[in-house]
């Protein structure tokens, strides 16, 4: 059998991914996390002076929640069900950093945990900054700020 024939055979016989179930779970889990964020935001808006300050507090609280859930080994279980619903909110970002930090702690404090903490979150930061820069540049050009 030629490799290509075999690859076709594998494709035909791979287990289907439960798309509908996964999507519903992602919607449900992502929705719960987002709703929780909304509650925190509403509370914060009562306490903080500006909207930006309230948003900052909300992010900090959600990152804390994501970190704690990761530390107790709950977040990966949540993601097993929720998929992207658990990965996309900022709690998911907190999870990638915390999970890597926990994992590489054994390789030392400096060269292990500190150096490898952003191993998975790194691309998010790089492209987050890059896209932020590009959008800002586009805005400046369109509004004729130069």
């Amino acid at each position: 059998m030629k490799p290509q024939e075999y690859q076709e055979l594998v494709k035909e016989n791979s287990p289907p991914r439960p798309l509908l179930r996964n999507t519903l779970w992602a919607f449900f889990v992502g929705g719960i996390i987002s709703a929780l964020g909304q509650v925190v935001l509403d509370v914060a808006q009562g306490a903080e002076r500006t909207k930006a300050e309230a948003a900052a507090v909300t992010l900090a609280v959600m990152i804390f929640v994501g970190t704690v859930l990761t530390a107790f080994g709950i977040y990966d279980e949540l993601a097993e069900k929720g998929g992207a619903g658990a990965a996309i909110p900022i709690t998911g970002f907190a999870n990638t950093v915390t999970a890597a930090a926990m994992e590489f702690r054994r390789e030392g404090f400096l060269l292990g945990m500190a150096a490898k903490m952003f191993v998975i979150a790194g691309p998010v930061i790089v492209f987050g900054i890059l896209s932020g820069f590009l959008v800002a540049l586009a805005k400046a050009l369109i509004l004729g700020l130069f």
Partner: protein, 335 residues
Amino acid sequence: MASNRIGSQTVTFSKGPRITSSYTIVGPMEGKGPYALDFDQILPDDVLGQKTPEKTERLMLEMAIEKTLQQKGTKLEDLQFLIAGDLMNQIISSTFAARTYSAPYLGIYGACSTFAQALGLGAVLLQGDFAEQVLIGTASHYQTAERQFRYPIELNVQHIASNHHTVTGAAAAILGFADQGPRITHATFGHVVDMGIKDALDMGSAMAPAAFATLTQHLKDTDRSLEDYDIVLTGDLGKQGRKMLRLLLTKEDYAGLDRLQDGGSQIYGDGQKTGAGGSGTACIAVMTLGYGLNLLKSAKAQRILVVATGALQSTVSVSQGESIPCIAHAIALEA
């Protein structure tokens, strides 16, 4: 042609080397699976008081070796070789465990086929009169493999149906000449097969053609059929790989597919949520030395063929977009 060879890939052992003693250790999760009674020891936890899972893996291997030596009171001086391997980079678990023992050490790597490779090489050394007793061993741990080959344990990843779950466990055996113990009659060492599968999350599909190549070559070399074996125990193909192997065999009109069993697919129960099933060097090792040997000892089987498969990728080769080369070694055991 060399007198101990038949066909193109098979070696025969006329002197009748045997597995004289063996010991299997599994983690708590494997101990909750359907083959719990076949293993010699089920660990209460997968940490064993160690600071890192790498240390735990090494300790499990040392425990398995120690217990195997104790079975018949074998002394270290009586062993001419220690052959061991594992999944870690530079096979550190085996090498670090081996520094405890003064026997000449041969470290090998064949991914999840390592155990069969050790078994075959050990029998070759015995048949060739290079040794009277050879110790073989291997170990793997879910957390060490997960961390090396996949992601941090606590990361938000969703596992898919073709995913494997690395078995936490260790196994060791002494091969030698004695009156009792299962006889190693043939070994068919496989060649590397690469069908261009690149998905490291579906190792079963990648490995099935290697299992097919070695299995069919073994049957051809020995002029046997699947039905000549009570059980053909493939290693770590998992549910997806097992399906692919059956498809390949069916396409070529092989009979006796009911003899096929798969260590990876069977080591966990359906309710254990382990995707396609078990993998890791310990998987086929504990299934062979636990389940397989018990069948032979209790005369429920007379003849078993173990076909252990291994996916030989590295994290570097996968991230560089290379396909997964695979291998399988077949060992025939008789009561």
